[in-house]
């Protein structure tokens, strides 16, 4: 169920926020990570802003 949720979100370009937090804590502990909302908007812009990968 958890995996289905992750899959459906990634289908529309939203990677898991928890993985991002884990990455930031491990690699850049001194940097303040983006909030959940900022992260969402950042990914939204990244997916669609540059012309989304969509097929015919």
């Amino acid at each position: 169920m958890r995996m289905l949720h992750t899959m459906l979100r990634l289908m529309v370009g939203q990677p898991p926020y928890e993985a991002y937090l884990a990455h930031m804590a491990q690699r850049h502990p001194s940097t303040q990570p983006m909030s959940r909302t900022d992260f969402f908007r950042n990914r939204e812009e990244a997916r669609y802003g540059s012309g989304a990968g969509k097929c015919c």
Binding site: L10, Y20, R41, E44
Partner: protein, 682 residues
């Protein structure tokens, strides 16, 4: 040996199903034979061929870190569970293409299309997706244009990028044309699709300010809105006041779409594009799943013959004989060059281990082929009379049920005018005659299947409009997203000559590039809409040729990479599909350009109308001198486009051969892979 036994059994099951399909003539064959044959074929191909490529041809290394590991940033580069990534990749590659192509191909009967999808995907399509994913994964997740540039030189890269842009233009035009054909003169369909715009805007506001990031919630609310719009649309269409407001001629609809495309692609993404993408993505996955379940539950018999008389050419939905035109009509589903852009997009940045690549690259494409098989089954369970009444141009059928029934019966598919009228009434439309483009045909088939499982005949009209909405929704998303992607491609291309034109410097180049992009696809859309033969006839083959040429380019890149890796002994894996695609596309391209049959060759068709024009005659289906001039002009543009595609693919063939020969003389591997890094040990 024991581990092979289940697979041998599966192979025998698949072969038996195919044998039933191939030998049955004249009696009703159940659709499940096709489904069963395909599934067995795909599983065996995945287990053996994909594994062979992974272990022996490219030698995937489980200890080699992928970009998601060594570049991990929690954003673009995230090591992702392979099942999750499979869903992501499949959602990105599956679009309208695999649904439309097989429906059009059904005019030759179900057998040729089925065999091409099965062979095409196993030997060409899935190999292409998998190889491009592998190549990109070993090079930091670079895009196709960059990969061609890296391995075959700057000029080859630029030509590939320009070719990709032209293909994008044709794809957008043909997709928009399908929407026009499905929504013209259909107030119910038009209302529901129009209703998605305020719905998406409301969803956009919701995810922006009210509950940011709650995609699940907002999608459920959106879905409720969509269903309400479909139900309500029936009343709107029936209303004497509101109904006529939503009736548009194809020409008006064409201008509305062009205006929509221009506007939508400059709006902020969160407002319209993102929320509608949620709806279309989830609806697409849901509808495909439901279709698969529906076909298995209903187990419908195939009513289309295995082969029709149009195998030799002269079919009403598209012209030309089986070879080479079947192989470009079913592009997506068997092999789709466009996937090379996706497989070198976000997926290679998310893949957690090299050994996941066969499952994602090869596996997701098999899944798409299965979607194509379902579309083919859908078209083949309809009464062939209905199929040909929907897919023949109005110039052949005339405009009323009696003339259409007469024309279709004369083709050898007996149907009564009453049946045509009743079918239209069942699905809640005024008419189903000459509703070309594939989408309405598939919608009738989906209505047939879904209403069998849920709701009965009373729900047919609902399911028909549900299917139209689902197709229109993701085509509109593709038009919008594709215009943006085309804009960036164009800015990159022009930026090569005029560096200040690149993205990020000012907003002017963005607007200019968007304008050029919309004007380009708008031109072909308008040409298709005003084409007296219905447009799909002309544009779909051009789209097919261009898409298969992109596939050939991707496979040529893969071949060049194999030679540069010094694995030329295994390069037959990509050389065989490349050669086949080159044969098909070069033959089809030159026939479209030069054939002396005016229904196939653009230049002959232009010459026929130009000489009539010189004599001052007006030849049907044109109705005026202006029509005649438009036909001649459009034919010459299309011929020019085919010539450009031929030039692109031939020049890349030249670069590939040059790269391969140079690699043969080189004693050591010369690929430009990113330096090997090991997977960090825990």
């Amino acid at each position: 040996m024991n581990r092979h036994i289940p697979w041998i059994f599966l192979a025998i099951v698949g072969a038996s199903c195919l044998a039933v399909l191939a030998t049955s003539r004249g009696e009703a064959v159940n659709a499940l034979w096709i489904v069963c044959a395909s599934v067995s074929c795909f599983l065996v191909a995945y287990r053996y061929y994909a594994l062979y490529i992974a272990c022996h041809v490219i030698q995937l290394d489980p200890n080699r870190a992928t970009p998601a590991i060594y570049r991990s940033d929690g954003l673009d580069y995230v090591p992702t569970d392979r099942r999750v990534l499979f869903g992501h990749h499949f959602a990105a590659i599956a679009g309208a293409g695999p649904l439309v192509g097989p429906v059009l191909a059904a005019q030759m009967g179900y057998l040729p299309g089925t065999l091409w999808i099965l062979c095409g995907v196993v030997l060409a399509g899935a190999v292409q997706d998998f190889m491009v994913l592998f190549i990109s994964m070993r090079r930091d997740g670079k895009s196709l244009g960059e990969l061609v540039r890296l391995e075959m030189g700057a000029l080859a890269g630029t030509i590939a990028l320009a070719g990709a842009f032209l293909i994008m233009v044709i794809i957008l035009a043909v997709l928009a044309l399908i929407v026009v054909r499905a929504l013209a003169e259909s107030p119910w369909g038009m209302f529901t699709v129009t209703a998605t715009i305020p719905l998406a805007l409301a969803m956009g506001v919701y995810t922006r300010w009210i509950r940011p990031g709650r995609i699940g919630e907002v999608s459920v609310l959106g879905l409720i809105g969509l269903i309400a719009a479909i139900f309500f649309g029936q009343n709107v269409a029936a209303s004497e006041v509101w109904g006529p407001i939503f009736i548009f001629t194809p020409q008006t609809l064409c201008w509305i779409l062009i205006g929509y495309g221009a506007l939508a692609s400059v709006l902020p993404v969160w407002l319209l594009l993102a929320p509608r993408d949620y709806l279309s993505t989830f609806l697409k996955i849901g509808a495909i799943t439901a279709l698969a379940i529906g076909i298995v539950v209903m187990a419908p018999p195939l009513r289309m013959p295995a082969l029709t008389q149009f195998v030799g050419g002269g079919g009403p939905a598209w012209s030309g004989a089986l070879f080479p035109f079947l192989f470009i009509t079913i592009a997506c589903g068997a092999v789709s060059g466009f996937h090379a852009l996706i497989a070198s997009g976000t997926t290679p940045k998310l893949i957690a281990a090299e050994t996941d690549a066969p499952f994602i690259g090869y596996g997701a494409m098999l899944m798409e082929a299965f979607v194509a098989i379902m579309a083919l089954v859908g078209a083949s369970i309809l009464d062939p009379g209905i199929y040909f009444a929907m897919n023949s141009p109005a110039a052949v059928l005339g405009n009323d049920p009696v003339s259409a029934a007469h024309a279709v019966t004369a083709m050898g598919f007996p149907i009564s005018a009453d049946t045509l009228v009743q079918t239209a009434r069942d699905v809640g439309e005024h008419t189903i005659i000459s509703r070309t483009g594939g989408a309405p045909t598939l919608a009738v088939a989906m209505a047939e299947i879904f209403s069998h499982v849920a709701g009965g005949t009373a729900m047919k009209a609902f399911w028909y409009h549900f299917a139209i909405l689902f197709e229109a929704l993701f085509i509109l998303t593709a038009v919008d997203a594709g215009t943006r992607a085309g804009r960036f491609m164009l800015q990159d291309l022009i930026g090569l000559a005029v560096p200040s034109f690149r993205a990020g410097t000012s907003w002017v180049p963005g607007i200019v590039a968007t304008g050029i992009c919309v004007a380009s696809w708008g031109f072909f859309l308008y040409q298709g809409v005003t084409d007296p033969l219905g447009g799909v006839n002309t544009l779909w083959p051009v789209f097919g040729i261009s898409n298969q040429m992109l596939a050939a380019i991707a496979l040529m890149l893969a071949t060049a990479v194999l030679f540069r890796m010094k694995r030329q002994r295994s390069a037959w894996v990509t050389v065989i599909p490349t050669v086949w695609l080159l044969i098909c596309t070069l033959t089809a391209g030159s026939l479209k350009l030069l054939s002396s049959d005016p229904s196939v060759g653009f230049l002959t068709h232009a010459a026929k109308f130009a000489s009539a024009l010189d004599r001052g005659e007006v030849v049907a289906p044109a109705k005026s001198v202006a029509d005649m001039q438009a036909i001649v002009f459009n034919d010459r543009i299309d011929a020019g486009l085919c010539a450009v595609f031929l030039a692109v693919v031939l020049s890349l063939l030249f670069f590939t051969i040059r790269t391969c020969l140079a690699a043969l003389h080189d004693p050591a591997p010369s690929v430009n892979e990113s330096p090997k890094q090991m997977v960090p040990t825990e």
